[in-house]
């Protein structure tokens, strides 16, 4: 009697355990399945039209006139790469300088104040960055350098600021992860602090720093709202830093409200191209950070 009731209790516990495990599994896989659904949907909606008009005219065509069945994405692909490169030119020097100062040349008190402030930057909604850009940066560029102000330069600066928190916080983490013995050894050999940073810490933290840059790059290429507000969105390859530019993301957001039929499919195709570019970036980021973990 005693043993059977105990057995039943154990059975019930086992059953509950199985149920909990099943429930957790379902919840865990829902995230994966959402990714799957999105991928299948975008590819399903976007690829037929790419093959209908030919991959080449889609990816290398210079004219985007959906009302005339011209779906050339080349200006937007180049535009996305331009503004991303611009963002990195501004984000990398400032980000790395800030990370080095925070880890090597500042007291703990300063660091404890500055690092949370920088991380707060990441929490500002992108529409606020865009708004600041339109109100302050664009008129400034127009009045000092000429042109419409809505330009590659404006987008680069805004995106450069937006990726700073990503670059800084990951770089700081990887610089701090360098074993103290490296630093001590270098100082003991008579190297100055800057020499230590340049010749010891940087090489040791290199893969983490690269990963931070690639993540920042992903953020810059995917940003939509701020970009659309300050880019000017001309579907043409910009001839100068002061010319307007359209990115892949803004192409979708700008035209989706009225797009029907093939035009809509072409916007999904834009999404496919963006998807592929971001996948490649993520893969590179994962590969470099995996390499970092393997290193001593």
């Amino acid at each position: 009697m005693d043993t059977t009731s105990k057995g039943r209790g154990k059975n019930k516990l086992e059953r509950n355990d199985r149920l909990v495990r099943l429930a957790l599994l379902v919840v865990a896989f829902s995230a994966v399945s959402i990714l799957l659904v999105i991928t299948v949907f975008i590819v399903g909606q976007g690829t037929p039209i790419m093959f209908k008009y030919g991959l080449k005219s889609f990816l290398a065509g210079a004219n985007w006139y959906p009302s005339e069945q011209l779906f050339g994405l080349w200006p937007m692909i180049v535009g996305s790469l331009f503004v991303t490169a611009g963002a990195l030119v501004i984000g990398i020097p400032f980000g790395l300088a800030c990370a080095i100062v925070l880890t090597e040349f500042s007291s703990k008190r300063v660091r404890r104040f500055i690092k949370p402030v920088i991380e707060l930057l990441a929490g500002i909604p992108s529409v606020v960055y865009g708004f600041m850009g339109v109100i302050i940066l664009v008129p400034f560029i127009r009045e000092t350098f000429g042109g419409p102000g809505l330009s590659v330069l404006a987008v680069s600066i805004i995106l450069g600021v937006m990726i700073l928190p990503t670059i800084i916080s990951i770089s700081v983490d990887s610089l701090q992860a360098v074993p103290p013995s490296y630093r001590e050894g270098s100082i003991a050999l008579g190297a100055t602090r800057w020499q230590t940073v340049k010749m010891v810490l940087f090489p040791a933290a290199r893969s983490g720093i690269i990963a931070s840059i690639i993540l920042g790059m992903g953020r810059a290429i995917g940003e939509t709202m701020a970009t659309i507000m300050v880019a000017g969105n001309a579907a043409e390859i910009p001839r100068s830093l002061l010319a307007p530019v359209r990115t892949l993301t803004s192409n979708i957001a700008l035209e989706m409200s009225y797009a029907t039929g093939e035009h809509r499919e072409a916007l999904f195709a834009t999404g496919v191209v963006l998807f592929v570019i971001i996948m490649v970036l993520n893969t590179i980021a994962n590969a470099t950070s995996a390499k970092r973990r393997k290193q001593p």
Partner: protein
């Protein structure tokens, strides 16, 4: 047992989230869909119409001219709204002009250029004319601002001004009348086009071919940039749709939109 309970929960959820139980006006007797330029005016009409006919539900949806026309063709809505002329196979629908809207070519108020020829507007937007100087302005590059592909306003501009010529690729592209106006209000060298009803003191509408952008000139036909706001339906509207169209075309319906800056049909 378990399965029953799950089914019950699902049922309860589906009932809770189904649109009919979310309160408000549950009944829809007629749907209008289409141009977002007409939508705010159609909302106004529907509001007053429903006050006169309590118990009836008129539902107004956006989506753009093309989507509205398609929805009407397939019978999803009784009336489609279009801010551009019908084309190609859309022509077998019945169209009713319910209002007219002027298109204004606008510049910064400080711009010395008062008026241009329509042909010059075409040259500016095709990218052939890039400097204000030949037009009597400063020796500065023209910042051309246009709307995005698919927009009804761009469609009307393309048809009325550009014809077969393309708007050049380098033109700055924005996705609403408001943004276009905002950019031109802050850039002394910019030019763009918006609905005449939306011109305010921040920008100035140019005279075209010597005719100022105002109601009198549109009435006597001297100002050429006018687009019709259309209701379309499959065959002549009947029943409730007919009543609604009659209301819109009545004295009262037309006065309503005049107050909002549109031009009445008659």
């Amino acid at each position: 047992m378990m399965r029953h309970r799950l089914a019950l929960v699902l049922l309860a959820l589906s009932v809770a989230f189904s649109p009919s139980c979310r309160g408000g006006r549950s009944q829809t007797d007629m749907t209008l869909a289409g141009s977002t330029s007409i939508q705010p005016f159609a909302d106004k009409w529907a509001e007053v119409f429903m006050e006169k006919r309590p118990g009836l539900g008129v539902n107004v949806q956006g989506g753009g001219s093309s989507a509205g026309i398609q929805a009407c063709k397939s019978g999803v809505c009784q009336i489609g709204m279009s801010s551009r002329e019908l084309k190609g196979d859309e022509k077998d629908l019945t169209e009713i002009v319910v209002a007219r809207d002027g298109l204004a070519v606008i510049v910064h108020p400080s711009n010395p250029v008062r008026g241009v020829k329509l042909a010059e507007v075409k040259q500016i937007f095709s990218g052939d004319l890039t400097n204000w100087k030949p037009l009597g302005g400063a020796d500065r590059q023209i910042t051309v601002v246009t709307r995005e592909e698919g927009s009804g306003t761009r469609g009307a501009f393309q048809e009325l001004v550009m014809g077969k010529t393309r708007i050049f690729r380098g033109a700055i592209t924005e996705d609403s009348n408001g943004t276009v106006r905002e950019i031109i209000a802050h850039d002394p060298h910019a030019i763009g086009f918006i609905s005449l009803g939306l011109v305010n003191e921040q920008v100035r509408a140019l005279e075209l071919d010597g005719a100022g952008a105002n109601e009198a000139n549109i009435r006597n036909g001297r100002y050429k940039l006018v687009r019709p706001f259309l209701f379309v339906s499959r065959g002549e509207p009947t029943g409730l749709a007919k009543e609604f169209v009659d209301f819109v075309l009545s004295e009262e319906g037309q006065t309503l939109i005049k107050k909002e800056g549109l031009l009445p049909v008659k």
